[in-house]
């Protein structure tokens, strides 16, 4: 949780340590933990425990007490056995990078990490986290696989690399802490941070013929209903009226509304990131209301439509705008 607790503490960020780690535990989509990538050291409790062991042994010697010796030796053996168990609790664990969730810059992003056991063992009380972020607890007991969502903070839009994942355990006695730092080579797509504004940068109607025509036709014909005084004569469905022998009125549904084009060019004197943030905000707004919209940013134009995949496509474009991966 805090850097102080980490046995590598300060120097885990040093370049030398990182390059050494990269050689020792190279980035991989799937990593099996074993001797080479598991580190193990006594925990703070373990240090206290060994001090206790020594004090008990000294008491046994000074009082010439055979059973105090026995107790000291039992604790010592327990200490050693627990070291093996703690190591065993990590070894044979297979970690596979899964899918990253979607996130906006400044929000939290979930990475799915799948833990499975290669050794047919049980792995208990595992703690999984990205350095400095929320810890997730997991158990692999009586099942061979578990998918975890491990959370971190997405700082910048674009492809976000969370760094190395820590998997650690103190099980069973907490006297040792075994951990592995694995680079799962996974990235999350982080969308720009949405920033609200009052009115959308919509392309005015008439600027595009296509837009205009489609707008007219987009009202759905929904059905007919009985004529009520006050209805427009233009709306009377003569066909239906003739068939049914009374006046019927055509009804239109306008659920999808008119088509909208979000346009980059409409912002003036605003920097790129802010434009992206505003556009993101409107993409979210429109998608929430189920409206069709298109977007036009330099180099990319996406035709107006609605739906989840459209939203993702637009957001992806916004996220990668101006980055190498665009």
């Amino acid at each position: 949780m805090n850097a102080k607790q980490h046995p590598f503490g300060r120097w885990r960020d040093s370049a030398r340590f990182r390059s050494w780690l990269n050689r020792r535990v190279p980035p991989q989509k799937e990593i099996t933990l074993y001797l080479r990538n598991i580190f193990i050291l006594p925990s703070r409790q373990g240090v206290y425990f060994s001090l206790l062991m020594i004090v008990i042994l000294i008491a046994g010697i000074n009082y010439q007490n055979s059973l105090a010796h026995a107790l000291a030796f039992l604790l010592m053996s327990l200490f050693m056995v627990s070291m093996l168990h703690t190591y065993r609790n990590l070894s044979g664990l297979v970690i596979v990078a899964g899918k990253a969730g979607e996130a906006f810059a400044g929000d939290e992003v979930d990475f799915t990490v799948t833990l499975s056991c290669a050794g047919g063992r049980q792995h208990e009380a595992l703690t999984v986290y990205w350095h400095g972020h929320l810890q997730t607890q997991a158990d692999l007991v009586d099942k061979s696989e578990i998918a975890l969502k491990v959370r971190t903070n997405a700082t910048q839009r674009g492809w976000f690399d969370p760094g190395r994942l820590t998997i650690e355990t103190g099980f069973p006695l907490g006297l040792f802490r075994a951990w592995a730092l694995v680079d799962l080579d996974c990235k999350a797509l982080v969308y720009p941070r949405p920033v609200a504004e009052d009115s959308p940068p919509l392309l005015a109607a008439g600027d595009s013929d296509d837009f205009y025509l489609r707008g007219e036709h987009s009202d759905d014909f929904a059905g007919v209903r009985n004529y009520a005084p006050g209805d427009l004569v233009r709306a009377v469905s003569w066909k239906a009226s003739a068939r049914l022998g009374k006046l019927m009125v055509k009804e239109y549904a306008s659920s999808s509304g008119s088509l909208k084009w979000l346009d980059w060019q409409l912002y003036e004197g605003v920097d790129e990131e802010t434009r992206l943030s505003h556009l993101t905000y409107w993409v979210n707004e429109f998608s929430e209301q189920g409206e069709s919209f298109g977007i036009s940013i330099p180099g990319v134009e996406i035709q107006p439509t609605a739906g989840e995949s459209h939203r993702q496509e637009v957001l992806r474009t916004l996220a990668l705008f101006g980055t190498d991966a665009a």
Partner: protein
């Protein structure tokens, strides 16, 4: 690792705490129990969410009060008890802030420490078992701190802890046997006022009755060859030579302060001992008594151990109070003659009496002395007096005040060994016969399972020795005159009618001696704890070297260190192999393994199964590739699919394995 402690961990911690505190609290002042109980109760209320953690000020007041209590109780902090008391109190107070995992860890470490203090007081077999059970529960608490599973059943931490301890035991045994046992590193405060048990160096009329009500073990004696008869089982402890009118006590003087230790220059009195019968050899394993006296049969030979001294009064004295169980080998000549040449000053020394008091007894002694032919006749006459008059052997003698000897001899006439020995010795001295009171144990119970004699506190006894010209010191037991069955059958028989034997101990299984099988069980347990005491508790540097030099001639302590290290590495290696083996792929079901075996066979032939290829497709392909095996392949696939997907119970995994075997055979056969 911070955060709130898991409830399971807390639960186990509480259980372990109660278990580990209970035996200690019995040994400490009542108010410590009260404090512990209050803390425990409070914690349980918190656990049930009916109360909250106390404010720090309340905790501070608690700590202050308990520290003050400790200081008032013991006045000084130089002995061990106040420290153990402090440990107990801190351990209980820890309950009130056992909130986070870190606190639980601290409590657990304290718990192991409290378990250690058990052993300072009691190392018996049963109590050690109990303590190790406590250690198991404490360890379960430790496991509970780690386990975070939601579905955690309360027994799981205990189960895990048991597995760990089970695996740790072999390693522990290696350490226990091989780790060099060192001499104390520095001198330490001993448990000063730890209750002195057994015989004291003072005897008021009636004080032995307290002992008689205790069934605690005093010592065990294992005889090398034959067992002496019960009449000669007089275990001499110490000699009381001074009488102040009420109390017999032991006075050091130039006559008896001189101890002989082996290897020293032999004092003069040592030559005045005559061995008549062949000495019997035996080994005594003594329970801690916090006193220096060792109990042996007369006439004891000087011991080989330099720590054991032989007094001129023919009893053994240890160099320091016996705080731990000790064992020693001795020899005794059951028929002997000692101090036949008692000097004039010594004779006077054993005749001293207060200037006045008990006039009735004094005149009675004078009268006997005048009417008797010799000194021995006087003693006989007194014994006859005890026998013939209405004396009763009882554990309820009633209180005696003032002229106690007179009252006893001529008024109450009810008493036990202490009364008889005391008054007999008084009469002897009054009659001019050098005499002394000897305190020790008489008799004991033979344990046929362990082949030793078990002497308990209720076997405590007092008798007299008188000095006769030409015979030296002669044992006189006036109790035997009154209640001969006390000597022949033991104290229980002597008190059978009265029913006062062990009457203060409400339910005690020794009372159930009538049942044969219970006696058997008792003997078994006794034998067990005897072995425990001799080989586990008594495993000291000497025994360690003795034992190991059987396998390694001339082993030194340095060798031990190396041996320990070596065996430690070997054991760790073994354990690691056991624990870490079998990292060979995922846990497959049997039937999948069979198919994998099948595809591995064909992979060798160059037709590995593609990952996405189903069994039927794969077998079709194989059949096409290897028309010679097509029939066998198709049969296998048919059976495999029937078993794995159609769930046909008629097809066994074994049968499938046989088919693979058949395929192997066919492949091995040369093409005909």
């Amino acid at each position: 690792m911070t955060g709130l402690a898991a409830r399971n961990a807390l639960a186990w911690m509480l259980v372990a705490q109660v278990a580990v505190l209970a035996p200690m609290l019995l040994r400490f002042p009542w108010w410590i129990s009260v404090v512990c109980f209050c803390c425990g109760l409070w914690r349980v209320l918190i656990y049930q969410q009916r109360s909250t953690y106390p404010h720090w000020s309340i905790k501070a007041i608690f700590v202050f009060l308990t520290l003050a209590g400790l200081l008032l109780q013991w006045k000084s902090l130089l002995s061990l008890e106040p420290w153990i008391g402090l440990l107990l109190l801190m351990f209980s107070l820890k309950l009130l802030e056992m909130q986070r995992v870190r606190d639980v860890y601290q409590a657990i470490l304290l718990g192991y420490f409290v378990a250690l203090t058990h052993f300072l007081y009691d190392q018996s077999f049963l109590s050690s078992c109990y303590t190790f059970a406590c250690v198991l529960m404490i360890t379960a608490g430790l496991v509970g701190c780690q386990q975070v599973r939601a579905d955690l059943r309360p027994w799981l931490p205990l189960q895990k802890a048991a597995v760990l301890i089970f695996q740790a035991v072999p390693l522990m045994l290696v350490f226990f046997v091989l780790f060099p046992r060192l001499a104390p590193l520095w001198s330490i405060p001993q448990a000063g006022s730890m209750a002195v048990t057994g015989i004291s160096d003072q005897m008021r009329m009636g004080s032995i009755s307290e002992l008689t009500q205790s069934s605690k073990l005093a010592f065990r004696a294992t005889f090398a060859d034959r067992l002496p008869g019960s009449q000669s089982l007089y275990w001499r402890g110490l000699v009381l030579n001074e009488f102040d009118g009420e109390t017999w006590s032991r006075q050091s003087s130039s006559h008896n302060s001189n101890l002989y230790r082996s290897g020293r220059r032999a004092p003069q009195w040592l030559s005045d001992r005559e061995v008549i019968s062949e000495p019997v050899r035996y080994r005594i394993l003594m329970e801690p008594s916090q006193q220096k006296w060792l109990f042996t049969l007369p006439m004891v030979m000087p011991a080989a151990n330099w720590k054991i001294g032989l007094s001129s009064e023919q009893h053994l004295v240890f160099s320091e109070p016996i705080r731990n169980r000790i064992g020693f080998n001795v020899q005794s000549a059951l028929r002997y003659r000692v101090d036949t040449n008692l000097s004039q000053s010594e004779r006077a020394y054993y005749l001293r009496l207060p200037a006045e008091g008990n006039p009735q007894s004094r005149s009675f002694a004078r009268r006997l002395n005048e009417s008797s032919a010799d000194k021995q006749a006087v003693a006989e006459a007194v014994l006859a007096f005890f026998r013939q008059e209405q004396f009763y052997y009882t554990l309820r003698p009633g209180r005696l005040e003032g002229e106690t000897i007179d009252q006893f001899l001529f008024a109450s006439r009810r008493g036990f060994c202490g009364h008889f020995a005391s008054s007999f010795t008084f009469l002897m001295r009054a009659a001019g016969i050098p005499a002394r009171v000897v305190v020790g144990y008489q008799g004991g119970e033979f344990n046929p399972v362990g082949n030793y004699i078990e002497v308990r506190q209720f076997d405590a006894h007092a008798w007299s020795e008188i000095w006769l010209q030409g015979l030296g010191w002669v044992r006189m037991d006036p109790t035997a005159a009154v209640a001969p069955e006390r000597i022949e059958l033991g104290i229980e028989a002597a008190l059978q009618e009265e029913g006062s034997f062990l009457e203060n101990i409400p339910v005690f299984w020794l009372k159930l001696r009538g049942f044969a099988w219970l006696t058997e069980v008792r003997f078994q347990i006794g034998a067990w704890s005897h072995y425990w005491n001799s080989f586990v508790v008594g495993y000291d540097p000497v025994m360690q070297l003795n034992l190991l030099s059987r396998f390694w001639e001339g082993i030194q302590i340095q060798d031990l260190a190396h041996l320990t290290l070596l065996s430690f590495v070997a054991m760790m290696f073994l354990l690691a192999i056991v624990l870490l083996r079998s990292v060979k792929g995922r846990h497959y079901s049997e039937i999948v393994l069979v198919f994998n075996e099948f595809s591995a066979l064909f992979a060798l032939l160059g037709y590995p199964r593609l990952k996405h290829e189903g069994p039927l497709d794969y077998c079709h392909r194989l059949a096409l590739q290897r028309p010679d095996l097509a029939e066998a392949i198709n049969e296998f696939s048919e059976h495999y699919i029937a078993r794995s997907y159609a769930g046909d119970p008629a097809i066994s995994v074994k049968a499938l394995k046989r088919r693979i075997f058949g395929l192997r055979l066919r492949l091995l056969k040369p093409v005909s």
